[in-house]
C-alpha cells in the first residue's frame, strides 16, 4: 500500500546548506563547493560546482538530488593542491563512498569540507522528477538505508528526521530469489541481463570507485575485455566490475540508476557486500585506512571455500 513520506525537512536543509556554504566560501575556507541545483525540468535537480559566495542561492536539496557527488572529487582532486579545500554536499550513502576513497589514498579528509545532509530518501526514478516521494516512488537503496544522518561531517543541519514508513526491501528479496535458483538458472538470468548491455560504460563513469586513469577494459596490450557488446565481453566486463567493487562498494546505486538498459547492477554489488558481511563481518564505507578483508590475510580467516 502506498504510504506518503514526510518531506518537510528538505526546505530547512536547503536553507542550512546555503547559509553554511555562504560562510565557508566567503571566509575562504574552501575554493569551491560541489552541490545540487535546480535543473531545467520541473522538480528535477542536477550537480553544480559553485565558487562564488553570491551563487549559494543556487544550492538546493530535494528528493530529486539523486546523484552521488563524490565521483566529481576523484577528478577534481588534482586541483586541490593548487586551489585548496573543496566543499561537498553529501548524503549518508554518498559519504560511505568518500570514506572508501580516503582509504584508497584518493582523497584526504583534511582537503574536504563535508556538508552532510539529513535525508529522508530520494526518488527511484527521475524520469518524472516532479513526483511525490512515497513508499512506492522511493529509490530501492533508500529502503535499506541505515545512514540517513551522515556521521563525522564538518557541518550537518540540525533537523529532526521524520519517521519512515514500512517499505518493501527490494534488493534483499531479489537476492533471496536468485539464491534459491540453481546455478544454471542463475547463469541464464544474468546471461539475459548482460545481453542487454551496450557497453556504454555509463556505470563506470558514474562510479566513484572507478577512478583508474586507464581502465583495464581500455587496454589492448593485452586486451583483457572484448570491447564490442557481445556476450563474452559483456560478461567479462560485468563480472570484473562486480569483483573490483567487492568490499568497496557501499551501495550508492548510481550504476543502476544511469544504466540505459536497466541492468540490475546494484543487485550484484549488494550480493558481493552480503558475502563480505557473512564471510568477514565487514561492511564497506565506515572506516578510513582500513585494509579491508580482501587486502589482508589472517590465519583465522574462513578457509572453507578452499576445497
Amino acid at each position: 500500500m502506498t504510504q506518503p513520506i514526510d518531506t518537510s525537512i528538505y526546505a530547512a536543509v536547503t536553507e542550512a546548506i546555503r547559509s553554511e556554504a555562504k560562510r565557508i566560501l566567503s571566509e575562504g575556507q574552501v575554493s569551491a563547493i560541489v552541490g545540487y541545483a535546480v535543473a531545467r525540468r520541473k522538480g528535477s535537480a542536477q550537480p553544480i560546482v559553485i565558487s562564488d559566495a553570491a551563487d549559494v542561492s543556487k544550492l538546493i536539496f530535494t528528493p530529486a538530488c539523486v546523484n552521488n557527488l563524490s565521483v566529481y572529487l576523484t577528478k577534481a582532486k588534482k586541483e586541490i593542491p593548487k586551489n585548496g579545500k573543496i566543499g561537498i554536499v553529501v548524503k549518508g550513502c554518498d559519504l560511505k563512498a568518500l570514506v572508501g576513497l580516503m582509504g584508497e589514498s584518493q582523497l584526504k579528509r583534511e582537503d574536504l569540507f563535508l556538508i552532510g545532509v539529513p535525508c529522508a530518501g530520494v526518488l527511484g526514478s527521475v524520469l518524472q522528477p516532479d513526483t511525490e516521494l512515497t513508499s512506492d516512488t522511493i529509490a530501492s537503496k533508500c529502503r535499506e538505508c541505515g545512514e540517513r544522518l551522515p556521521q563525522g561531517c564538518d557541518f550537518v543541519p540540525s533537523v529532526t528526521l521524520p519517521a519512515t514508513p514500512e517499505q518493501e526491501q527490494i534488493y534483499a528479496a531479489e537476492i533471496a530469489r536468485l539464491e534459491a535458483l540453481t546455478p544454471a538458472e542463475r547463469w541464464a538470468y544474468w546471461k539475459e541481463q548482460f545481453s542487454k548491455c551496450i557497453k556504454c560504460y555509463a556505470c563506470r563513469q558514474v562510479c566513484p570507485f572507478c577512478f583508474c586513469e586507464q581502465c583495464l577494459c581500455d587496454r589492448n596490450k593485452p586486451q583483457m575485455v572484448e570491447t564490442t557488446p557481445r556476450p563474452a565481453g559483456n560478461f567479462a566486463w560485468h563480472v570484473i566490475r562486480a569483483m573490483h567493487l567487492a568490499g568497496r562498494c557501499a551501495g550508492c546505486a548510481e550504476c543502476e540508476r544511469v544504466c540505459p538498459m536497466d541492468i540490475p547492477l546494484n543487485l550484484l554489488n549488494r550480493k558481493m557486500a552480503k558475502e563480505l558481511k557473512e564471510l568477514y563481518d565487514y561492511e564497506a564505507g565506515f572506516e578510513v585506512n582500513d585494509k579491508g578483508p580482501l587486502a589482508s590475510y589472517d590465519d583465522k580467516d574462513d578457509q572453507s571455500f578452499i576445497k
Partner: protein
C-alpha cells in the same frame, strides 16, 4: 624476429616413455619464431648442456625453451648454461613436460599432443621475455635460531664458532628442550644431562650468541640475507641483568604446589621458578597465573628477599626487532596426547588406554623423568599413584604412530630404541622386576642400534610380545593389560603395576602458526617441509630459512645434531659472500596507469612497495604512484593480481605473456 631454440629432454625414459619426444621436437620446430629444435636423452647432463651451448652459438639463437622437468628442479642449471653461451639467462624458460605431462598421463598420443601444447605456450611466453640484469643485495651476517633444544643449541654454537653473531630464541624460561628432560640416551646409556648441560653453558658464555629465553617470534619480514624479525620478550618479572641466580626467591615463595611441566607434572615447583636446577639462564620467571602477588596484590615476598632487587612486578612484554640474514628453525617436537581428541584435528586419541584417568599409565617422557637422577623421585622408579616400586611393567609401542585409523600414518622413529632403553633402565633399578613390551616391529636402523635392542632382550631380560594391546583397565591396584601375541596366536593378559606408552612424536603446538609467520611450508601433520626430500633436506623452499631437528620429522639425537650442523653449514655458505645475487624476477610499476590506490602496498608481504611522487618540471606534484623496491621485492606477484588497473607487472610473468600463452592454445 626471434630465433628460438627448443630442447626436448627424454629424462632417461621418464618423459620419452609416455611422450613421443621426437614428434614434439618436429612439431614445435614448425612454430613461428622457432629456429631450432632437437631432443636428447639427458639435457641436464654435461653433453646435454654442451649441445645447448653449441646450438646457441651455431644457430645464433635469441631465446631458449628447455622442455624437461619442473623449473624448480633445473631452471638454474639451464639458465647458467645459457649464460655461459653468451645469452642473458632470463631469455631461457622451461616447459614442464615431466611433472605436468609424462608422469601424469598414460596415453602416449594424448600426452604427446599435450606436450606440444605446453612447449608451444612457453615458446609464446619466451618471445616476450626481457633481458634482465641480476640484482645483488647485501647479506646481514647474523643468524636467528628458533628453538633452544639440542638442535638449536648445536646450530647456534656452530654458527657462532665461525665468528657470526647468533640470536637464539627459546619459548620456555630455559634452553635445553626435551633432551634436558631425558635420563640416559641410547645406544650408549650416557647421561643426557651430563652431555647436554655443558653445551647449554657454552651457549650462555659464548660472546657471539645473544640468548632470548621466555621469548617468541612475533613477526618475520624481509627475505634471504635481509630478514627483520620481531621478537616478543614475555615479561619474566625478574630482571635478567640484576638476578644472580641465588634462588632465595624460590625458597621463600609461599606457593609451592604447582605441578612442574619439566617433570611431566610429577614434581612440584613454586610460583617463581626455574624449570630445573641446571637451567640456562639460571634466572627465575614468575608464573603470573599462580603467583599470589598477581592474583591478589598481596605477598610480594620474593621482591622483599631479593638481594639485588631483581624482582620486578611491573615488567611488561616487550617487542624487539633484530636484523638477520638467515634463520634456522629448530622448534622440535611434542608428544601425542592420547587422551585428547582436539576438535578438527586428524588425531583421534586413545581413550581406551586410560591415559589421564589411570594414574599409573604414563608416557615415555614421564618414565624418563622417573628414571632421571635429577627427577622428582631422585632416579627411583616409583609409580605415580602410591609411590610403590612397580614389579611388573608393561611398555606399549606405536601409540599413535603407524596407526592410520588414528590419524597418524608415520613411524615416530625413536620409540623402539627408547623403549629398549627403558627396559634396561628399569632392569638396572628394579632387579626383581619384569618388563614386557608390546610391539609391532622393532625398527633399529642406526649405528649400534640393533645390538642395543638385542641386549635389552638377551641380557636385560625384557619380554617382547609381538602384538597390540586392545584394552587396559584398573583392577585393584593393578592395571590389566589385554593384548594378543600374534607370534604364538594367543590372547595375553598381564596384571601390571605400571604401563608406559610410547606415544607418537608430533611437531610442537603452534608449529603451523610459526610456519605462516616465516612463510615456509608444512605437511598435514604440521612437520616443516624441506626443499627437496633427498638433495636439499635442510633447506626450506623459502630461501634463507633452514631446518634442524624434529620440527622437520621425527629424529633421534644423533640425526638431530647432524642436521643442525648441516643447517649451520648452509648458513655459513650464505654468509661467506658479502653480496647475494638474486633473481631479477621482480615487479615493476607502469607509472602512466598507476592511480595510487596503494592496494599493492597493502597486500605486499615483503613491504617492497613505496610511495613515489611524480612532479612536473616546475616541481608541481602531478600524482603519487607506487614504486617497487627491486631489492626487497620477492617476486610473488600478489601486487600484479591485486592492481585494479593492471599497472604493475612481474617481469617474466607479464599479463601480455600470460595472455600470449593462453592464446597459443
Amino acid at each position: 624476429m626471434s630465433r628460438i631454440g627448443v630442447f626436448i629432454c627424454h629424462c632417461g625414459e621418464n618423459i620419452s616413455r609416455t611422450v613421443d619426444v621426437e614428434r614434439v621436437a618436429r612439431e614445435v620446430g614448425q612454430l613461428p619464431g622457432v629456429a631450432f629444435s632437437t631432443d636428447y636423452k639427458y639435457m641436464c647432463s654435461d653433453p646435454g648442456q654442451n649441445l645447448l651451448k653449441k646450438a646457441i652459438q651455431e644457430q645464433k639463437l635469441s631465446h631458449v625453451v628447455v622442455a624437461a622437468c619442473s623449473p624448480r628442479m633445473h631452471e638454474r642449471t639451464f639458465r647458467k648454461a645459457v649464460e655461459a653461451a653468451g645469452l642473458n639467462p632470463f631469455l631461457c624458460e622451461m616447459a614442464n613436460i615431466r611433472e605436468h605431462c609424462s608422469w601424469v598421463h598414460e596415453d602416449k598420443e594424448e600426452a604427446t599432443v599435450k606436450a606440444v601444447e605446453i612447449v608451444g605456450m612457453m615458446v609464446e611466453r619466451v618471445k616476450k621475455n626481457r633481458v634482465l640484469p641480476t640484482i645483488t643485495v647485501p647479506v646481514t651476517k647474523r643468524a636467528l635460531v628458533i628453538g633452544g633444544g639440542i638442535a638449536g643449541i648445536q646450530a647456534a654454537l656452530d654458527i657462532a664458532d665461525c665468528g657470526h653473531e647468533v640470536i637464539l630464541v627459546e619459548r620456555e624460561p630455559s634452553i635445553g628442550g626435551h633432551m634436558a628432560q631425558l635420563s640416559e640416551t641410547f645406544p650408549t646409556l650416557d647421561c643426557s644431562q651430563c652431555i647436554m648441560t655443558p653445551k647449554m653453558v657454552d651457549v650462555a658464555n659464548h660472546p657471539k650468541i645473544k640468548l632470548y629465553t621466555w621469548s617468541e617470534i612475533e613477526r618475520v619480514e624481509g627475505y634471504i640475507g635481509n630478514f627483520q624479525v620481531t621478537i616478543k620478550r614475555k615479561a619474566r618479572s625478574v630482571d635478567e641483568d640484576k638476578c644472580t641466580g641465588c634462588g632465595v626467591c624460590m625458597e621463600k615463595c609461599p606457593v609451592r604446589k604447582i605441578p612442574n611441566k619439566f617433570d611431566c607434572n610429577l614434581g612440584m615447583r613454586p610460583a617463581i621458578y626455574v624449570p630445573f636446577p641446571q637451567a640456562v639462564p639460571n634466572t627465575p620467571v614468575i608464573d603470573r597465573e599462580n603467583c599470589i602477588k598477581f592474583k591478589t596484590g598481596k605477598c610480594g615476598l620474593c621482591q622483599k628477599v631479593c638481594g639485588p632487587g631483581a624482582v620486578d612486578y611491573e615488567q611488561e612484554d616487550i617487542l624487539i626487532v633484530e636484523a638477520v640474514g638467515a634463520i634456522v628453525v629448530a622448534t622440535g617436537f611434542d608428544l601425542y596426547t592420547i587422551d585428547e581428541k582436539p576438535k578438527g584435528s586428524l588425531i583421534k586419541g586413545y581413550g581406551e588406554f586410560g591415559h589421564g584417568k589411570i594414574p599409573d599409565v604414563v608416557d615415555g617422557m614421564t618414565f624418563e623423568r622417573l628414571a632421571s637422577a635429577s627427577g622428582p623421585t631422585g632416579g627411583k622408579i616409583l609409580r605415580p599413584s602410591d609411590g610403590k616400586e612397580p614389579k611388573q611393567i608393561v611398555f606399549i609401542q606405536c601409540i599413535g604412530s603407524r596407526a592410520r585409523e588414528k590419524g597418524i600414518s608415520y613411524c615416530s622413529k625413536v620409540c623402539c630404541m627408547y623403549t629398549a632403553k627403558h627396559t634396561m633402565l628399569y632392569h638396572h633399578k628394579v632387579h626383581d622386576g619384569q618388563a614386557y613390551v608390546f610391539f609391532m616391529d622393532a625398527r633399529t636402523p642406526g649405528k649400534s642400534y640393533d645390538e642395543f635392542w638385542r641386549r635389552s632382550i638377551e641380557e636385560e631380560e625384557a619380554v617382547y610380545i609381538r602384538g597390540m594391546v586392545s584394552r587396559l583397565y584398573q583392577k585393584g591396584d593393578k592395571i590389566v593389560v589385554m593384548g594378543s601375541d600374534i607370534a604364538v596366536g594367543v590372547q595375553v593378559e598381564i596384571e601390571a603395576d605400571m604401563v608406559v606408552l610410547a606415544t607418537a612424536i608430533q611437531p610442537q603446538k603452534g608449529a603451523d602458526t610459526l610456519a605462516q609467520k616465516l612463510g615456509i611450508s608444512y605437511d598435514k601433520y604440521n612437520f616443516y617441509s624441506e626443499a627437496h626430500a633427498k638433495l636439499r633436506p635442510v633447506e626450506c623452499a623459502t630461501a634463507g630459512i633452514y631446518l634442524a631437528g624434529a620440527c622437520q620429522g621425527p629424529k633421534d639425537i644423533p640425526d638431530t645434531v647432524s642436521q643442525a650442523s648441516a643447517a649451520a653449514a648452509k648458513v655459513m655458505t650464505l654468509f661467506s659472500k658479502d653480496k647475494l645475487e638474486r633473481e631479477p624476477i621482480v615487479a615493476r610499476v607502469k607509472e602512466a596507469g598507476c592511480v595510487g590506490c596503494f592496494y599493492c602496498k597493502k597486500v605486499c608481504p615483503y613491504g617492497a612497495v613505496e610511495e613515489k611522487e611524480i612532479r612536473d618540471r616546475q616541481g608541481n606534484l602531478i600524482k603519487v604512484v607506487a614504486y617497487v623496491n627491486p631489492g626487497v621485492c620477492g617476486g610473488c606477484g600478489t601486487c600484479q593480481a591485486t592492481c585494479p588497473s593492471k599497472s604493475v607487472e612481474l617481469d617474466g610473468y607479464t599479463d601480455e605473456q600470460i595472455v600470449a600463452m593462453i592464446e597459443s592454445l
